[in-house]
Amino acid sequence: MTKPKANDYRGDVKPIWCPGCGDHAVLTAVMRALAQLELPREKIAVASGIGCSSRFPAFLKTYGIHGIHGRVLPLATGIKLGSPETTVIAVGGDGDGFSIGGGHIPHAARRNVDLTYIVMDNSIYGMTKGQPSPTSPEGVVSRASPYGTQERPLNPLLMALSYDVSFIARCFSGKVREMTEIFVQALQHPGFSLIQVLSPCVTFYNTYGHYNEVTQPLPEGHDPGDRLSAIQLAMNTETQYLGIFYRDEDRPTYNQRFEAVQALAPETTLDAIFESLKR
């Protein structure tokens, strides 16, 4: 069998994203990472929620499920538990993941289910045409916030670090090569990985220039095993570091836990249970 190419994973549907949208770069990086890992297409499932970025699964030739708003993590968890041999990727935006679906992240972290969660964070609601999102900076003026937003933005990486997600990284759509490398590592990570991709919305909130200025690679010598140092680096909002902040590969995955539970459960049959219910 020949080595797969990134384009082998491309679906028949043309992306609906605006020209210049950061999500095109994410799609490219995902396809390249899948090709690099030589994953058979039928052994990949991509799940998503609702939003521009959540249209993602339709643009790949793998198994895909486009679910409902905010529920991509439970959906993807179900797929991984149902089919442990499948590589499961969850995708969505900042509204889907950090607003309506924010309650699912700590529990995905607790379970350490083996899936890769890519959040395309554009700090705006693009599909509904430009309302502020949980990661919009304070004071952003939009049609839905004519006097400026009155809430402080969420720090997704700090949140993920405090939830103890076992693999945490940040990428930027302007840097596809680096993003691909991080996706490869995340896909290989045995457990739950969360990647925040700074993925600008060219139509409603173009941040390319800003991110080109404030992003830079994590300091050389940063030890991804050092959670405290990762927290310090994530707290820096002036400079947005890119790279793998944190990684813990020693935890059992959720599927491994189930193997342990199944071994603990005493063997029984339906007939035996009925027998035990006899008077």
Partner: protein
Amino acid sequence: MEQPDATVVVRIAGEGGEGTITLGDLFTRIAACSGLEIYSFRTYSAEIRGGQVMYQTRLGIDRVMTEGDEANVLVAMNQQAWIEEHEDLCKNAAIIHDAHVQVPNDSHQGFPIPAEAIAQELEWARGKNFVLLGALGWFFRLDLDVAADLVRQQMRHHPESLEKNLAALRRGYTFAQQTYPEPFPFALDLPDTVEERILLSGADAMALGALAAGCDFYAGYPITPATPTMESLARYLPAFGGKYVQVEDEMAAINMAIGASFAGRRALTATSGPGLSLMTEGLGLASMAEIPLVLINVQRAGPSTGLPTKTSQGDLFLSLYGGHGDAPRFVLAPDSVKDCYFKTIYAFSLAERYQMPVIVLSDQAMASRQATTPLPGEPWNGPLARLTPTPEELAGDYQRYAFTDTGLSPMTHPGVPGGMYLAESLEHNAYGYPDQTPGNHEQMMRKRARKVETAREMLADWRMTSRRWGDRGAPFGIMGWGSTRGAVREVTKRLQAQGIHVEAIYPHTLLPMPDQAIVDFLSTKRAILVPELNFSGQFGRMVEHRYYKELDERNVHIYQRKKEQGVPFKVREIYEATLEMIDEERKLWNKEHGEIARIFDTVQRLGEASGTFEKDGGHCD
């Protein structure tokens, strides 16, 4: 209303936390082990501790179908028990009560037991309920060894208190034996042979039904009164190679189950009203993306938090119509503890074969009750498998959502080469890709809806349309659904014995409604009674709306008997409502008859009158 022959209603009431439910549960089990048929009901307050709780169990020589109405025997653990329960007793009821409970000496027979004092004497204050259990054992002449064995088995997780409880049990038994040696007025003759029965709760019946159907994935969030089903699956599912997850909320529950089903598992979630409200969006996803899913809804009284521990049938409309858009689904209505087992198996067959969500509509009363049941045996039709594409279909141009005559299109899952597809919550084309053109939308809506119609044939094959009993073709009918069936059965039995002709029908599936059976049932009716446990009479309204033509053509009258009190129907309530309906119809008939007689009379006089007119020669003013 007197209990029918050879049954006794025993009601145990006391404060939550003082062992009232334990007492009721153990007494029920001991009675069952002694060969009696039992049927129990419990109601408790929403508090963890405190608040009055009540456990009612009906004992019988033959099969028992309801927990009974007024109690023959009241076990009053505290004064409040007497205050709350004394108006709901049979004449000459036996009151077994703690000695400090004041029971007025009128139409009842008092059997004081110094349970608290005996327990204190044993230096085991918590053992009051076991003293009373021992006394009950003597009154019903149950075998003390059988009782002790059962206590040992049931209390094995509390070894520190077991010996003390056993001592309390024995002291209660001997005290009652010495103090009340004469025969107890409500003791039943114990059968010589103990027939093979299992003691099953509705909650466990559903969990075991899921296992029998090959369920291998469960995701759920704790909610009263659905939690016992979840806990049974937590215990058993891993032994069957399945996975059980307690999730963070109901949205996670249904979406995780959908994910697992997408991946090829037979997935289940269970919840109660508030949880179903939260799950309706997910239900729409399963319907839209055609992903099999079984959802057990153990109804409790709403709206909002409502009466979390009390029963109701108020989620019918939510189950049938809940969610935005037209999202086809199946809704099954189990109507007994045993039926909870079978309907859960059928739910999986329907879900898997028709790739749709299936709601099993149970309720608190049915889920939490224990009943003696024969071993359920094999289902009429084993669990059906999912429709999968053939290798040829996979090698060719595989269309996951292909348009077919039946509406069914083969489904694959991750891992199957050539079967890759997109499961879309957006309207989609035959491949699953988004397609919002007008023609496609309506065609897809038709495809999904057609599956429900396609299923009718199979449901008929499975004898899964309706239960019908009583006098075939009788002019008066009773039509209900779900857990009220036991009470209605007793009513029809009584009426038949009294020579009053009534026929009853209970649909197995509420969606689709077994129209043919119901239209046939209605074709001979003058009036029907629709009893249900909700405030607005949802089922009656649905029947009225769905069969308006048939009802109108034949002028069939609908009488609704609604009850929304958090407790099941008494047999008496349905019995009286049936008699009222018949009486009302008699009055109507008399009135109509009177009108007809007057018309007849008038017509008779017509000849005379016209003759008179001619004789008069007529007036032309």
